[in-house]
Amino acid sequence: MAGRPLSPHLSIWKWGPHMLVSILHRATGDGMATVGFGILLWWLGSLASGPLAYADFLAIMGSPIGIIVLVLLSWAFFNHMSSGIRHFVLDLGAGYELDTNRRWSVATPIIGVALTILFWIAILLT
């Protein structure tokens, strides 16, 4: 390890909403980059391969477990999107006041869940 002061690890901090947002941002991003990309490439590859391969994809991703994975993936996207937009605001130098920062930290995961619900309602209705 480096011979200089390092920031203490997660376990010693008192948890706040900003920490949850930060961890969720990384977790959802890495989830999409692994599971999400796997499913995206499987989807494109099966479409390019022909009806039989695509039928396999539909059968598995259309099963209850497949749908749960897709719902979680869509949540990962909307959560990552809302905390990512929060990052853009912070990049502008705005929103660092303690109250404001806490308020948006609480809001971003809620917005992520709300957009996920709206998306699936839209999928089911159309």
Binding site: G29, D30, F37, L41, G45, L58, G62, A122
Partner: protein, 138 residues
Amino acid sequence: MDRNTPLQNAGAKGTAIGNVRGLGAAHEGAGHWLQQRFTAIGNLMAVSFLLISFILLPDYSYLTVHAWLSDLLPAFALALLIVSTFWHARLGLSVLIEDYVDDAGNKFAAKALLNIAIIAGAGFGLFSIARIALAGTL
């Protein structure tokens, strides 16, 4: 170290900033940060296009989805989606590796693996889209 370290106390590299520059886990600076933001904007547009398309598609049968993706605009948008999201993911996963893989050799190996996986994955995605698009309407 004080915020205003006198030059004579700043050490071998001359200035106070010279002492700390490059000590972060990535050993580099702002280019990565900017690319992450640029690709984030691309991701927002491209994934929005994909999700709205999923909402608007009448069904998800092979014929419907294949016909949709063989059109110029969806094929183009999804090709951009592949480039932007894989680039963004490469940056994000690099940071993950830099944060959690301490050993220099393991870090190099993990990053080499990551780069191969990203290039291979993006290449496979783009090739699949090209095949769908160039097959035309069935």
